[in-house]
Symmetry: C2
Subunit: 608 residues, 2 copies
């Protein structure tokens, strides 16, 4: 059987493949009318490109001419004819720009009505219109490329895992049991009164059980669900590349993922270097104020507390005198984006945690004495126009500066000053996370930093029983250009240790996880794995602004399918078998407000 | 990077791969203790096989010996040592039967508690016990093989579609809108009062919309959902190989599927011949009394009405005198399974539709005259002991005989008489289905035989407007060994035709499908596709009795996960965000009865 994109098709060729080598050939093309030009040409489009169809002008071909000239844009036709070289001077640089096809037969499959918008990249359309007519939006070459790149990427990952490394693709259920505390899980009523399935946020339990089952190496391109209400650039269903291996250590999983990404990386996006940079959680927080640093640019945090060790400036003094008090700074080269630099401190703001942030714009290579107690500044050499952001407070000032660092980069770029290379891919492993963190609302209690199945670092295991808050986990996050694109861990494989963590440290009821605890008791191998967020990964690779641009039929940020209008009402009769009814809100609170799609940002004081 | 199943692993080899070529090598194996023999040997198992570990007996290795001899069955260990040739006479025929590994180091990862059942094929265990400890059940070599074969099969299908024929793997949403009349769709409450998503039974609408979007060739290994309550050997979630193509005809899709199955067919199951046999719906009903004939054996239905055209036997006469009256027969060679054949009619039963079925057991090559009006019987030559099943009634007797045909085959096989080759794979296309069928409860109205998007045969299109019940559809079913494993069609690609079918023939409200009708109006290409039931296909390939044997974590026939106990209760608090509450049944009807798992069967009268 013939292979290729035109196998078994009514066409002989695609619209993107004809060139001078095909001149004289009798071909059949199928596609959409991109545009018509003066009854002389029809430009025909399919997923692969465009071909110019020449409308025959002879009397004998009047039927073909009439059929072609009556077409509307986006009508679907099949054209048969001969490939010709274009007359000299009429060629262009497009892949098919040297040829045209003289139409000898036309079949019109469908005449298109007038579209709600044009299928052209440069024609701006609102996101909601694009979503309502998603099948038209997907005709754009950008969306076609995104979907095809995603398909290819996943195919290569599968080949790597399945054919080269003996992984087994196993499908795990999505109708599962509610996870204890799984507040973000959609519920699915069953036909038994009061009993519900739950759509899992990940196949975590199943992948571990598959290791206990001796499957040895599992992967799945897994559909996952998370009900977060309305959050920008999140989807209620998303896809993760889910991997688990037995008899492996951290190093093994990380090397596997690096090689997999290298193997499957789209050729047109350059190549990626392995191994990736690795950084501890502590280093990431210290240098970038965040656990997923964007390492494409510098502007690192620097602790300048010692410069002020004997300062008498009131707010600096009180910042340093508190527990974990410190003064942190980032230097933003050419950060004074407005035209009026001065020597003065421009802004002094105190956030609700009591951290003072102030800005300083450099006019010289040294800092003036009145702020710095007569000491010269050794942080980094500054240039006129550089901006120094200084935060005085507890260590909580780090995340604040980390966030300001990113916002400065955005601000500079919006002013046309390049900070991050848009074509660069900076991968980074972040490791040695704390295994537990204080609960936000009850800081004397601990919760898992990631999930309760993560094993402690071997050298920290003894601390579990004495100082659990000091235990570091065998967890690793994969960061790409400042976005977390994956996370995983070596898991606890002994029942007694898992029970201790659940019961004694997390104070959770272990009875909900009886099946997992039992499984660990019946011969569980050491195992670990990772999950990569496929939507996010692909969106970064193609440079899309949103994951919605790499998903065929995404939901709106409120979780709506604007095309089919889901979710929708369901009749009482249809709910009856599920033994539920709707609890209508008693107070009609008026129309819900449309919340902005852009992530909330801290206001950055501008330099006047 | 090294590839293969031991890449990046703590082990150097798997337990199934060592042979005399490895003698003298220093190896590390990881696995489960299959059994211990007299403090001399430990048999270690992983997914790939077994290796005999020799327990060292010297004083200097007393620690290793103690560690090994203290193990329980199914404990997980890592053993390092040297591969040795077994002493003469101790070899066996297993792949690793010529070697053993002398243990020099042991690490015990986990000591297993006593299992609820043994991991041995021949140890019978109840289905519910297997399901409760599914992770142990999956350790059996049979389940390991099933899961791995499934993974390989799907991988090859993907390679065929994606790499050889330009298909794009596109993920479509599973949180969708309820299909009009979608009584079998699970509902998923959203956070907006009264609004529900629905888990779709197939990506039918999305795959068609992807064709309108110009994706050209789509496939997806798609998770689908169907809430059928308790049905034997059905699963609330299942997987289909979902395919759609533009600019293709029936022939193209069928050839694609044949080539895909040929390409991906497991080598150990022999090869399959293409093209597959094709049969019209009419032929299938006529010869087999069913639209999914098992063509591995003969015993076809034969219309013997003309033999009786002038019969005066009362019940035969009245059968023939009614509209569509006929007398049908199947000949079951050696069908008299009991030892007392006679010339008499053994049983005469009348089912609720008024069809008479009677049996005849042959003692000679001719039939006696008293039944057959003195005419010799020319259906097939009979042999002594053959059984003839005759049904007199309307054409409805065909499905009845079709069902009896299968039950006779089962009965014969249960008596040790082979009818169907258990290693044979008989594929069959059934085509030319009626596009519409009378509704069961309102026979004067029509419903789609498959779904409302199927296009009519071109030569029948005009009948749509005059005699829609006579229209045949461009639908094709793929049957394997008497099971429907796939179905598809060429779709309607013009909005006006689709609207006519929905509104005028099916009397459905087209407003629920506005998005699809609109899409057809904006340049829809001709397109068609198919969906194969992956679970069923794999179960037939591996010869499993149930699809549960090819699914890692299946639900019980009541839809329960017996391992984690899903579905489960959800607190009122957790239901609050979804604006639903549970409607508890007012009458407590006592415990629900456990319904038998075996498909209901018509009673077959035995030959006394």
């Amino acid at each position: 059987m013939v292979s290729g994109p035109s196998s078994l098709s009514l066409r002989t060729h695609t619209c993107g493949e004809l060139n001078v080598d095909h001149v004289g050939k009798w071909v059949t093309l199928c596609g959409w009318v991109q545009y018509l030009r003066q009854d002389l040409f029809v430009i025909l489009r399919d997923f692969s490109g465009l071909t110019q169809i020449l409308v025959p002008q002879e009397e004998s071909a009047s039927k073909v001419k009439a059929d072609l000239c009556d077409l509307t844009v986006e009508s679907v036709i099949m054209v048969t004819g001969t490939v010709r070289k274009r007359p000299a001077g009429q060629e262009n640089k497009m892949p098919t720009g040297e040829i045209e096809v003289l139409a000898e037969n036309v079949e019109v499959f469908n005449v298109s009505k007038k579209l709600p918008f044009e299928i052209k990249e440069f024609v701006k359309k609102s996101e909601s219109l694009r979503m309502q007519y998603r099948y038209l939006d997907l005709r754009s070459s950008r969306m076609q490329k995104n979907l095809r790149l995603r398909s290819q990427l996943v195919m290569k990952m599968r080949e790597f895992l399945c054919n080269e490394h003996g992984f087994v693709d196993v499908e795990t259920p999505t109708l599962f049991k509610r996870t204890p505390g799984g507040a973000k899980e959609f519920v699915v009523p069953s036909r038994e009164p009061g009993l519900f399935y739950s759509l899992p946020q990940s196949p975590q339990q199943f992948k571990q059980l598959l290791m206990v089952a001796g499957v040895d190496r599992y992967f799945q391109i897994a559909r996952c669900y998370r009900d977060e209400g309305s959050k920008p650039d999140r989807q209620p269903e998303f896809t993760q590349v889910d991997i688990e291996m037995s008899f492996v250590d951290q190093e093994g999983i990380r090397t596997l993922v690096e090689s997999m990404l290298q193997h499957s990386w789209p050729a047109e996006k350059g190549s990626i270097q392995v191994p990736f940079q690795t950084m501890t959680y502590e280093e990431a927080m210290r240098d970038y104020g965040v656990d997923k640093p964007d390492t494409r640019f510098n502007m690192k945090l620097t602790d300048i507390s010692d410069i002020f060790s004997s300062t008498q400036v009131e707010f600096l003094r009180s910042a340093l005198d508190q527990p974990e008090g410190s003064i942190q700074a980032i230097l933003v080269p050419c950060g004074a984006v407005r035209r009026k630099p001065s020597h003065e401190v421009h802004s002094l703001l105190t956030d609700r945690t009591g951290i003072c942030i102030f800005l300083y714009v450099s006019m010289s290579k040294l800092f003036p004495s009145f702020v710095f107690d007569d000491r010269s500044f050794s942080l980094e050499e500054t240039q006129p126009g550089d901006l120094l952001l200084i935060a005085a407070g507890t260590l909580h000032s780090r995340p604040l500066l980390g966030s300001l660092r990113l916002q400065c980069a955005e601000l500079l770029e919006s002013h046309g000053r390049p900070v991050r290379d848009p074509l660069a891919f900076h991968f980074l492993w972040v490791v040695d996370f704390p295994l537990f963190l204080p609960k936000e609302d009850e800081p004397q209690e601990l919760e898992s930093a990631h999930h309760p199945f993560t094993a402690p670092l071997p050298e920290d295991t003894a601390l579990l029983f004495t100082e659990p808050h000091k235990v570091r986990g065998q967890h690793y996050d994969l960061v790409l250009n400042g976005c977390e694109i994956g996370g995983g861990s070596i898991r606890i494989h002994r029942a007694s240790e898992q029970l201790y963590v659940l019961k004694n440290i997390l104070k959770e009821d272990p009875s909900q996880l009886t099946h997992l605890l039992e499984a660990l008791d019946f011969g569980a191998p050491p195992h670990g794995g990772i999950a990569l967020g496929l939507d996010r990964l692909v969106s970064i690779i193609v440079g899309a602004a949103s994951i919605r641009d790499v998903i065929a039929f995404p939901k709106s940020f409120r979780g709506h399918d604007l095309m089919s209008r889901a979710p929708d009402t369901v009749s009482d009769k249809d709910l009856t078998p599920y033994h539920i009814y709707v609890k209508w809100p008693t107070k009609q609170g008026g129309e819900e407000k449309r919340v902005s799609c852009s992530p909330s940002k801290m206001h950055i004081p501008s330099c006047k």
